[in-house]
């Protein structure tokens, strides 16, 4: 009469094993694609974008060619289009520092009390997981004259420009 019960106990053990195994497999495979890993990648990419803007800004110009301020000062202020950017020097330096990534560069500045934003380098339209890094530079009459840029700044004026770098991977 109790013969069946032994089989059922074994069945129960088997089921227990099955469920535990499933839980183990699910949690372990889930760690590969958990949101935190994706977040870590975002942190990584954003950190890299900020690193690049920082070192372009702090490096003396004999190190890498023109630094960020000189590049921005030499901007012709034309709106960029795809494959036709208006900041070739910065583009050349960024392409060396960001191999395998796509990036856009925008400039924001204040003119007559209002904010103006223009594209300077346009390589495409960023995907959803693009990251943005910003850095401000200061232009004066003398930096612009030296870099032969198109900014019109009087000798007693200064112009703050925010450089926005958008980076994404395809």
């Amino acid at each position: 009469m109790d013969d069946k019960a032994q089989l059922q106990t074994l069945e129960g053990l088997g089921a227990a094993l099955l469920i535990t195994m499933t839980v183990v497999i699910i949690t372990q495979s889930a760690t590969v694609i958990t949101p935190q890993h994706e977040m870590m990648l975002d942190v990584q990419l954003e950190q890299m974008a900020y690193d690049i803007l920082t070192l372009l800004d702090v490096a003396p110009s004999y190190v890498m060619g023109a630094n960020l301020t000189e590049c921005v000062a030499g901007w012709d202020m034309n709106q960029a289009a795809i494959k036709h950017n208006s900041l070739p020097y910065l583009d050349r330096e960024l392409s060396v520092l960001l191999p395998g990534f796509l990036y856009n560069v925008d400039m924001s500045y204040v003119r007559n009390g209002s904010l103006v934003t223009k594209n300077a380098i346009l390589n495409g339209y960023p995907t959803e997981d693009a990251v943005v890094a910003r850095r401000t530079v200061m232009l004066t009459n003398s930096t612009v004259t030296k870099a032969k840029g198109a900014w019109s700044i009087a000798s007693d004026e200064l112009q703050m420009v925010e450089v926005r770098l958008t980076v994404w991977q395809v």
Partner: protein, 311 residues
């Protein structure tokens, strides 16, 4: 009743797994997070901080000169040792890098916080900190710039990559308009150097007063013309990158030239005069009292990747 027994067995088994296999829930959250933080923190402190040392009487960011009293290890170059911060994050000093490579293992683990305390005992993380250029570790003064152990394949680890500028040596930077010439020919640029040289001599010149079809013809030391294998010339056009300069190719006002001389040319303990022989470039400052290599020495920085892996 058998069924109840089965169900309770299942629950007990699951409870057991959760309790005794820490890999399931812990590593999915806290453990891995800790690794991520450790990697991020380590990369930040190395690239953005100049470090700190102190003893009972004084302190400063120049810990590379006081390695026995290091408080914090940071690699960023700093020109004001009392500032506590650096104005130049992401630019790493060569001297600090080499001292970092020489520090004792326990010191590095403790100062960078690369360990975790489990019930009061210290558990060191495995780590690997490397400075890479073109996926190869950099070599500075015969030190391979890698610290830590190689990574096991398919190990669970946290990794962060930073873009940095590394100081790799010295060079002398001149403005072409203030270089000295001699009475023989105004297209000669003369630079003095007091030997012996301990590293290759690199001279960078920008801003030439160049006429049409200006060019650099050759270089000589103390009057004897060098063969082209004794030095290499790189040229950078305005805002470009350095690339090799073929002898006697045209030179523009805004170009930069970087000339690298082998250190063996300056091996004796005497003074040398390097003469660069240009064509159609005018130098206005007439010597004697020639430009000196030592007066204009700056640091060369090259961009590289700092990779921190923690497991």
């Amino acid at each position: 009743m058998d069924f109840l027994l089965g169900v309770s067995l299942v629950l007990i088994a699951i409870g057991f797994t959760v309790q005794f296999v820490p890999g399931i829930f812990i590593s999915g959250s806290a453990g891995e997070e800790k690794l991520g933080y450790a990697a991020y923190r380590t990369s930040c402190i190395l690239t953005e901080d100049p470090g700190w040392w102190s003893n009972s009487t004084s302190s400063g960011t120049d810990w590379e000169k006081h390695t026995e009293n290091v408080q914090r290890i940071g690699l960023a170059a700093d020109d004001d040792i009392n500032s506590r911060l650096t104005e130049t994050p992401n630019m790493l000093s060569k001297e600090k890098l080499i001292k970092f490579k020489q520090l004792a293992e326990t010191e590095v683990v403790r100062k960078l916080g690369l360990f975790d305390s489990v019930k009061g005992t210290q558990m060191n993380y495995g780590y690997n900190i490397s400075f890479l250029r073109n996926d190869q570790p950099l070599v500075i003064d015969n030190y391979i710039m890698v610290r830590g152990k190689p990574l096991h394949p398919d190990q669970n680890m946290a990794k962060i990559t930073r873009v940095v500028l590394l100081e790799t040596g010295n060079f002398s930077v001149f403005d072409g308009r203030s270089l000295t010439t001699d009475y023989v020919n105004s297209s000669h640029a003369n630079i003095n150097f007091a030997g012996p040289a301990i590293e290759n001599l690199t001279i960078q010149i920008t801003n030439f007063n160049a006429g049409s079809d200006a060019m650099l013809i050759n270089a000589s030391i103390n009057g004897s013309t060098l063969s082209s294998s004794d030095y290499t010339i790189l040229r950078r056009q305005l805002y470009g990158n350095f690339s090799s300069y073929a002898s006697s190719s045209p030179l523009l006002d805004n170009d930069s030239l970087r000339i690298d001389f082998n250190k063996n040319l300056f091996s004796s303990n005497k003074s040398y005069q390097i003469r660069l022989n240009f064509h159609n470039v005018t130098f206005t400052q007439q010597g004697p009292l020639f430009s000196s290599y030592e007066d204009n020495v700056e640091k060369i920085y090259e961009h590289a990747l700092l990779v921190v892996e923690v497991w």
